[in-house]
C-alpha cells in the first residue's frame, strides 16, 4: 500500500470543502448549470440517464481493506447498494444524489479516496498492472513511477485544460496486463542490453471512433528522465492538439496527422530544453516515494504446502486453482483473482455486502490489500498458499469464485444504454446472455483464453476494438444492432480487431458469438492453439462465412 501524506490529505479535504460550497451554490441558483458542469466534472460527477454518477479513482488499482469498506459504505448509504468497477481502475456509483454528494465525498476522503481527474480534459487516473509488486515477471514495482506521475500531474496548471482527456498506463512486466498500447502515453519498463532499467514510450494509442495503437517514439528512456519526457509530450500535445473539433482533439489524431517521427522530433526538441532542469529525477525523491509503499512482512513459506496438496484432491478446488490463482514472486504465496463475472451478472459490479466481505477476507488472507484490474475483476495479491482452500470457500459463498477468469464468460463491458447517456445500445444484457450460453465451464475451458469486450457506443469504454471478440452496439432506425470484430488483443502483442461483417440485431448477437466459438473449435490446428492465434493464422474469412452463411 502507498501511504498518503499530510499534503495529499489536505488536498482532498480542501477539494471536498470547495465542492460542498459549489453544490450549495448550484442548488440555490447562484451557479447556473453551464457554470457548475465543469466543476462537477472535475470531481468525477456525471449526469447519466437516471441519476448522477460518481466516478472514484483507484490509483494504480490498489485498494486497502478500509478503502473497500468505505466504498461499501458509500454504496449502501448514498447509492443502491452496489458499485461498478470500470476498465480504467475506477469505481462508479450510478444513483448518487447531487444533494448528498458532498457528504459522500467527505466520507470517501476519510479513506483517501476521491474523484479528482476522473473526468474532464486533464490527465486521468494513471493505471498499471493489477499485479504490480507481486508479479514474478516484473522488473520492478511500476506503481512507484505511477505515483510519481500522479503527484506531478495532479492539478498541474499547465495540463488541467488539455485539448481532450489524457490517459497514461504503465507496465513493468514482459506480459502487459495494463493494455499500455491503447493509452495516450504507454510506458513499458524493461532492462536494456547494458542492464539499465528504463521505459519504452509509446504515444497516440486510443480507441473510440478512431482507434490507434500507440507508436514508439522513445525506445529507451532512462528513469531519471520520466517526468521531463512526459512533460515534453504533454506540452507538444497542448501546443498542437486540436481544440476546434472534439473528434480530432485526442493526441492520437495529432500523432497520426503529424506522423510519429515528426511528433517525436517535436517532443525531443522540447525535452532537450527541460531535461536537465527541475524535472530531472533526483534518486532521493524516487526513494522517498518508494519508501511510502509498504510491503507486507511475509513470513517464510514453502511452495505447495500440505493444505494445498490435500485440497487439490477436490475437483472444484482444482478447477478454481488452475483458473483463478497465479504465481507470486515470493515462494509460498499466490495471487488470487476474484471474478466479478458470475453467470448472468452485470460485468464488474459488486454489492456492498460483497465489498465488505472482500475487505474482511483481504484482512484475513492478503495483508489488507485488494487490487482492481482493467478486466473488471479484483485480486488479492498476498495470499499464503496454505490459505487457498479456506479462501476459496469464503469467496464462493459471496459469489466471486466463478472459475472463468480469462474465459469466454469473463466479459469486459461498459454500462451501456441501461445507464449511460452516451450509449446507443445495451451492453449488460448482451454480456449476461453470453454468460448463460457458456455457463458450462467445461465448454468455456475447452475454448480456452478468449476475451469478449462489449461497448454500447463508439466511445468504446468496453474496449471492443481489442477484444478477441469485440462487440459494438449501434442504433439503426431505433433498433439495437451489434457490430462484431475479431482478432483484437490488449497485451504486448496488441492489435485492433477486424470487422467481421454487417451488424446483427440484438436478438442474434449471442448466436453470433456461439457461431464464432463453434467455428474456432473446427478451425484450430490443435487443442492448445488459442482463439486469437487461430484468427491470426486463418484470418477472419472462415469466421465470416460461418456467421453470415445462415443470415
Amino acid at each position: 500500500m502507498y501511504i498518503y501524506d499530510e499534503f495529499d490529505r489536505t488536498l482532498v479535504d480542501e477539494r471536498v470543502r470547495e465542492f460542498r460550497d459549489q453544490v450549495a451554490r448550484r442548488l440555490s441558483g447562484e451557479l447556473t448549470e453551464e457554470e457548475f458542469k465543469p466543476l462537477r466534472l472535475m470531481n468525477g460527477v456525471y449526469l447519466q440517464l437516471h441519476a448522477y454518477m460518481l466516478r472514484i479513482a483507484i490509483p494504480y488499482g490498489t485498494l486497502s481493506s478500509d478503502q473497500m469498506r468505505m466504498l461499501a459504505h458509500v454504496a449502501r448509504r448514498y447509492d443502491r447498494g452496489y458499485g461498478h468497477f470500470t476498465t480504467r481502475q475506477n469505481i462508479q456509483f450510478n444513483w448518487i444524489k447531487l444533494e448528498e454528494l458532498p457528504d459522500a465525498m467527505a466520507d470517501l476522503a476519510r479513506a483517501g479516496l476521491h474523484g479528482m481527474q476522473t473526468s474532464g480534459n486533464c490527465v486521468r487516473n494513471i493505471t498499471t498492472d493489477q499485479w504490480a509488486g507481486v508479479a514474478p515477471d516484473e522488473i520492478e514495482d511500476p506503481r512507484i513511477w505511477a505515483e510519481l506521475l500522479r503527484q506531478h500531474l495532479t492539478l498541474h496548471p499547465e495540463f488541467s485544460f488539455l485539448p481532450r482527456k489524457f490517459k497514461i498506463a504503465l507496465t513493468a512486466s514482459a506480459h502487459d496486463r495494463a493494455a499500455v498500447k491503447i493509452h495516450d502515453i504507454g510506458l513499458r519498463m524493461y532492462r536494456n542490453g547494458a542492464g539499465e532499467t528504463g521505459f519504452e514510450v509509446t504515444v497516440g494509442g486510443g480507441l473510440g471512433r478512431t482507434p490507434f495503437l500507440g507508436k514508439t517514439i522513445k525506445p529507451f528512456l532512462p528513469k531519471r528522465d520520466l517526468l521531463s519526457y512526459v512533460e515534453a509530450i504533454m506540452r507538444t500535445y497542448n501546443q498542437y492538439g486540436r481544440r476546434d473539433n472534439i473528434y480530432k482533439a485526442r493526441i492520437k489524431i495529432l500523432v497520426h496527422e503529424l506522423g510519429a517521427e515528426k511528433f517525436a522530433r517535436e517532443v525531443e526538441e522540447e525535452w532537450h530544453s527541460i531535461k536537465d532542469g527541475a524535472l530531472a529525477l533526483d534518486p532521493a525523491v524516487v526513494a522517498d516515494i518508494a519508501a511510502r509503499f509498504h510491503y507486507p512482512d511475509y513470513e517464510e513459506l514453502a511452495d505447495n504446502p500440505p493444505e494445498l496438496a490435500k485440497a487439490r484432491e477436490g475437483e472444484r478446488f482444482r478447477t478454481w486453482l488452475a483458473n483463478s490463482v497465479s504465481n507470486h514472486k515470493v515462494s509460498g504465496r499466490a495471487i488470487v483473482t476474484l471474478s466479478l463475472k458470475p453467470e448472468g451478472g452485470p460485468p464488474g459490479d459488486a454489492t456492498a455486502a460483497q465489498m465488505d466481505a472482500i475487505a474482511e477476507l483481504a484482512d484475513r488472507y492478503s495483508h489488507g490489500e485488494i487490487r482492481v484490474g482493467h478486466e473488471q475483476n479484483l485480486a488479492l495479491p498476498h495470499v499464503a498458499q496454505r490459505d487457498l482452500p479456506a479462501l476459496r470457500r469464503a469467496l464462493d459463498e459471496i459469489g466471486v469464485a466463478t472459475p472463468n477468469v480469462n474465459l469466454i464468460s469473463d466479459i469486459i463491458a461498459c454500462p451501456g444504454l441501461d445507464y449511460c447517456s452516451l450509449a446507443n445500445a445495451r451492453s449488460i444484457p448482451v454480456a449476461q446472455e453470453i454468460t448463460r450460453r457458456f455457463r458450462n465451464l467445461d465448454v468455456a475451458r475447452d475454448l480456452g483464453r478468449l476475451h469478449i469486450n462489449i461497448s454500447g457506443c463508439i466511445n468504446a469504454c468496453g474496449h471492443h476494438h481489442i477484444g478477441h471478440i469485440g462487440i459494438l452496439g449501434v442504433e439503426k432506425n431505433g433498433e439495437e444492432y451489434y457490430q462484431v470484430t475479431i482478432g483484437g488483443r490488449a497485451d504486448e502483442r496488441a492489435e485492433l480487431g477486424t470487422i467481421l461483417g454487417p451488424a446483427v440485431p440484438y436478438g442474434e448477437i449471442a448466436d453470433v458469438v456461439e457461431d464464432i466459438a463453434a467455428a474456432y473449435l473446427e478451425l484450430r490446428a490443435r487443442p492448445d492453439e488459442l482463439f486469437i492465434d487461430t484468427v491470426k493464422r486463418v484470418g477472419v474469412d472462415p469466421f465470416k462465412e460461418r456467421v453470415y452463411a445462415a443470415r
Binding site: 442548488l27 437516471h50 451478472g345 454489492t351
Partner: protein, 104 residues
Amino acid sequence: MTSPLQQKLKITGPVVVTANRLGDGAVVYRSGDGSWTEELAAAAVVTTTPAAMELLTAALSDKLRAVDAYVAPVELTPHQQVLPGNLRERIRFNGPTVALPGES
C-alpha cells in the same frame, strides 16, 4: 455543444419535454402547468413543432429545478395512455432493463 433551442426540431408525432431533476438527477417531465413531474402520464404532450418549441423554451428557462431538458418522442395508445417513444426513453422511464445487483 449546440443548445437544444438551436437544434432544428422536426416533430412528426407526439412528444414531451423531459429532463433530469437538479437535486437527485431523477427523470422528470414537463407538465402543462409549468411544473415537473416524475409521471409520464402527467406530462404535457404536444404534436406540433411550435408547441414543442414553446414547451422546450419554457423548460430551459427553468434554471433551478431541472437540467438538460430536451424533446423526447412518446407513443399514445388508443386509450390515450402515454408511453415512452423509444428504447432510450423506455429505459429512462422504467429504469435499467436488468436486475440491479443485490436484487433477486
